[in-house]
Subunit: 245 residues, 2 copies
Amino acid sequence: MLKEVEVLRISDGDCKRDVDTIVEEMSLALYINGRHVQTVMISPSMIREFVIGHLFSERVVKDFDEIESIRIEENIAKILLKSSPGLINLKKVVLSGCGGGSSFLDESGIPKIDTNFNMDSGLLLRSVKEVLSLDLHKKTGGVHSVGLFDKNGAIIITEDIGRHNALDKVIGHGVIENINFKDTFVASSGRISSDMILKCISVGIPAIVSKSAVTNLAIDIGKASGATIIGFVRGRGMVVYTGKI
Amino acid sequence: MLKEVEVLRISDGDCKRDVDTIVEEMSLALYINGRHVQTVMISPSMIREFVIGHLFSERVVKDFDEIESIRIEENIAKILLKSSPGLINLKKVVLSGCGGGSSFLDESGIPKIDTNFNMDSGLLLRSVKEVLSLDLHKKTGGVHSVGLFDKNGAIIITEDIGRHNALDKVIGHGVIENINFKDTFVASSGRISSDMILKCISVGIPAIVSKSAVTNLAIDIGKASGATIIGFVRGRGMVVYTGKI
């Protein structure tokens, strides 16, 4: 996911040719049952997980059995579903954030989260620290990292140029591994906007915590669903916006 | 664009009820000639500028005269164009980044930038510093800021939960004020991905500089178009990825 390029580095008036490590971005066209529905810009890793997670987090499918097959050919993902995806054109909400994706979620009809989320605050602090310590994040400054955790620690952590993509990737991993999302939480480097919390509750993840800020719509959705949202997890502190801890 | 909410603040094991300032997020449904084409999540400021800038930067229109009228009613923007927008459904590329927006741009057919961009590096350093010093950016940590500059300094600076939205807002302002984009550059707090540079060159802005990182696709597009891309503008240094300085 890294590339080296020649650059001109200017520092303190001094100017020299140099080599810089940059983060890779690729386009991925999603075809469902032969029809082009979206092209997303993602980081070239965990592409299959991204596709599966995206289908679930955008509520195109609710069950793994609904997916007949997924074939990834270079920049194209060909998805065959057993039935035609009625939801896909209902509402194209375009996301706000680092991690792109046009979201098909509708705020009306927010699922209720059935949760006894009661995570140790020490674990929450450690989870965000772990997510932020990833190599690419430190090396390029150009990616977001998102991890899926349970009470024993990290299940999977991934990085992507987009925070929504990274979230879709960990959700895809969870679906493939048949993880019960009820007992997990998401830790993220990026801002928690409405779309991030919607993706979580769509698959039943009861809580999201982040190093960054939280928007008002995310809080509204958190309250309506019962999900826990915690922002500014830094050092030894955090801010609890909704839910219990 | 700010709201106060009740939160639980946890610090060093200490836990207290507190009030926190958060950033607002609103949905805006875009209707073109009566048809719903997108819903975007944006910050509630400069909404008219956002709509106009979005139409231009996504190449839905190329001339102000093509827009018959724009009416904004709460969460809906009703846009009437003189002719039907053929491009809109050609290619929906979903963006990678903080600032959302599904982009209708196609990399093939990248316009060439006709530029003598030769900006003083002192001005570039100051421009990024100015963009980062905005109030909301410091207060909430939850927004991106983008400014349009010329050799005399800032023309307009705006903030939004999404970096693409903020860029659309300054482009909209430039269109309304009839500014010649050839003599301007964009300074941004957020990552420069392919979509950000595509938006700039769509309207003829020859350069983009940022505090943050740059992706490989942005560099490819910068090289193909002749635009200047400069990242990691921090302190007294910067990294020139494409173009001249």
